[in-house]
């Protein structure tokens, strides 16, 4: 399990196999506003990166997160 998918699986309480690029708040009921905040803070902590508010709010699905973490220098394969 990659670090990123582990965070999503733990925070959203879903199986790792369900974590696909299209995963989004629209198709995942546990991806609510509270868990969205938890996802941001956990990702920042684990990858030692920082998002600004707009970046975090622009995230529409799991693929956006992958792109964003990579752009900040985080290793999404780890």
């Amino acid at each position: 399990m990659s670090k990123l998918s582990k965070i999503f699986s733990s925070v959203l309480n879903i199986d790792e196999s369900k974590i696909v690029p299209e995963l989004s708040p629209q198709n995942t009921s546990s991806w609510d506003s509270l868990n969205a905040i938890i996802l941001i803070t956990e990702i920042e902590k684990v990858f030692n990166i920082k998002f600004n508010y707009d970046e975090a709010m622009d995230v529409k699905n799991y693929n956006d997160v992958l792109v964003l973490v990579k752009a900040k220098g985080g290793d999404t394969n780890a």
């Binding site: 925070v11 509270l34 905040i37 938890i38 956990e42 902590k45 508010y53």
Partner: protein, 581 residues
């Protein structure tokens, strides 16, 4: 434990069966910010220690309404623990700090009302001192700084006034982690979550310690390795003169660690030794080394030998009548730590491969000892265990056990419904596990109420070697369903007084008092717990008839006049009872 694990555990809550948990807790949470993350963290932390939590969380920004309205769900939700955390900062205006804090005294009155209506305990965080402001370094000129100071003073006064209100020192925690790693600026402005997840996690660890105490799960004993823990170097190799202990580094770090351990001893935490060494060599250090602060009398039990440390643990637990889960083990050797973790897993074994200058801090950072107020008995406890060692040697020298008991001159000073003993009596119900018939946990307020409605007997026990303090407690309540009937609601004795015939004398005394109070039948309930086998053994020896027996509960019956007519006079124990009405 990291925050992700706590979130994961919290997510599992809906799938968990409360019946699978041996302990449950009702929690009320009251804050002035978005506290969903804090609540989730706390949920995970409780599940992590095997406690099923039930929360009532005051809705966002409703805290004033819920405190002012005495019919609110906050007042009607009975909680064993209520956590209150109001944040004031120099970054965001707060209604609490508005108009120079005029609202605060009224709010404090509401909190007081709430505490008086709750049977459980209320833990409130002290206000965080604003460390930065437009006033620069001139704290005295910063009105908010002064306001927070006066609020915190008022909280302390309230804590002195109310038996179930405790102040958690938030500034101590902020001081330890640093304000920068505690505050979350983006969270504060964007979501009204003014703290980082890591800070919530740290806070949670301290908060659940209050609950663990209430549920009788406090650590009571620090078990120590010797070489490279109490002194530097391996005694067997370098000898008494070669060990590092004294005024210069690294000896000074070891010496100050001993000083810290002494402070734990003073506050009633027991110390014990579990070390691979030659006992003669260690005795030499104790008697000859000029910088040893710890003396043999500070240790309640010692195992200095070449046996395996796990077996030594079992022996220490037996000798001190303590559960393994009430012990903490400090050893610098990773192999020993691992061995103990694998073989006596209930013992808490923190990482301890450290430079000696970090020893004291590591111990202080463990939030596992009681956060509650000290009682006189706590301060005496370490001393009493060491008197127990002398008693055991008197036992070895005397001929029969009966002779020994006579020589001991055991004395019980019994009092009834004595309000000055309430803190100690509550503490006894919280901490006593092994010799406890019903293991009912009571707050100070509960005890106060029981004194008004029933008979609360407490015994101050002593013998020729010294006093044990108040170490026996029994509560008799009227049985509403039975004419002339009473119930032995609680019967418990501290383990350190067992085995002297005290439990029988105290029980017989109670039957006499129940008779004097006009009762004819006493029901004696017994609820089995993981630890109270010694109490069950005693109960069985009394040979009482069975009133009710199911899988969950057992009730024995004492027909009082009959019991008293068959009573033999105890020879070796003196009972003094002064009835104060």
């Amino acid at each position: 434990m990291d925050s992700l694990t706590y979130f994961k555990l919290a997510n599992s809550l809906p799938e968990l069966n409360p019946g699978d948990f041996s302990q449950k807790i009702k929690v009320n949470l009251l804050t002035n910010f978005t506290d969903d993350i804090l609540a989730k963290m706390l949920t995970g932390a409780f599940i992590n220690v095997g406690i099923y939590p039930e929360f009532f969380k005051v809705p966002y920004k409703q805290y004033v309404v819920y405190l002012k309205n005495k019919d609110s769900k906050l007042f009607s939700a009975p909680a064993q623990v209520t956590y209150i955390f109001f944040d004031i900062s120099s970054y965001m205006p707060s209604e609490l700090a508005a108009q120079s804090g005029e609202e605060f005294p009224g709010l404090l009155e509401d909190i007081k009302d709430y505490c008086q209506k709750q049977q459980g305990i209320v833990v409130m965080n002290s206000f965080i001192r604003p460390y930065v402001s437009a006033y620069g370094n001139l704290y005295g000129d910063n009105p908010l700084f002064n306001l927070v100071g006066s609020f915190n003073d008022r909280l302390q006064k309230l804590a002195a006034e109310l038996p179930n209100f405790y102040v958690f020192d938030t500034n101590q925690l902020i001081h330890s982690v640093g304000e920068d790693s505690a505050r979350d600026m983006r969270g504060m402005y964007a979501f009204d979550i003014p703290f980082k997840t890591d800070f919530f996690e740290q806070l949670t660890r301290h908060w659940i310690n209050y609950a663990l105490n209430l549920l009788g799960r406090v650590k009571k004993c620090i078990v120590l390795d010797l070489d490279n823990v109490l002194w530097g170097g391996v005694l067997g190799e370098v000898g008494v003169d070669g060990i590092a202990l004294g005024p210069t580094y690294p000896g000074v770090a070891f010496q100050n660690f001993q000083r810290a351990l002494l402070e734990y001893y003073e506050r009633g935490v027991l110390l014990a030794i579990n070390s691979r060494n030659n006992e003669r060599d260690v005795e030499e250090v104790f008697s000859q080394h000029p910088y040893m602060l710890l003396k043999p009398q500070h240790f309640a039990a010692s195992r200095i030998n070449w046996k395996n440390k796990a077996d030594n643990f079992l022996e220490i637990a037996k000798e001190l009548n303590l559960g393994l889960d009430s012990m903490v083990f400090l050893d610098d050797d990773p192999v020993n730590r691992d061995w103990v973790r694998q073989n006596v897993g209930q013992v808490l074994v923190p990482e301890f491969s450290l430079e000696p200058e970090y020893y004291s801090k590591t111990l202080h950072d463990l939030p596992v000892f009681t956060p509650f107020n000290l009682t006189a008995e706590d301060k005496l406890k370490g001393q009493m265990y060491s008197q127990e060692k002398r008693r055991t040697s008197a036992q070895a020298a005397s001929q029969t056990f009966d002779d020994y008991l006579k020589q001991l001159l055991v004395k019980l000073e019994i009092s009834l419904n004595n309000a000055s003993q309430i803190p100690r009596l509550s503490q006894m119900t919280l901490k006593t596990n092994q010799f406890n018939f019903t293991t009912k946990r009571y707050t100070e307020k509960d005890i106060e109420k029981l004194m008004q409605e029933g008979l609360v007997f407490a015994a101050d026990i002593s013998d020729k070697f010294g006093g044990y303090g108040i170490t026996a407690l029994a509560i008799i309540t009227k049985d509403p369903g039975k004419e002339g009937g009473a119930i032995l609601d609680s019967f418990l004795l501290s383990c350190r007084v067992l085995g002297r015939g005290v439990e029988r004398s105290f029980f017989d005394f109670l039957i006499g008092q129940a008779f004097a109070a006009g009762f004819k039948v006493l029901s004696v309930p017994f609820f089995a717990s993981a630890k109270n086998v010694p109490a069950r053994e005693f109960l069985d020896k009394l040979g009482l008839s069975v009133e009710l027996e199911t899988n969950e509960s057992l009730i024995r019956r004492v027909v009082i006049p009959e019991y008293l007519s068959n009573l033999a006079e105890p020879e070796s124990i003196t009972i003094n009872y002064e009835k104060k009405i």
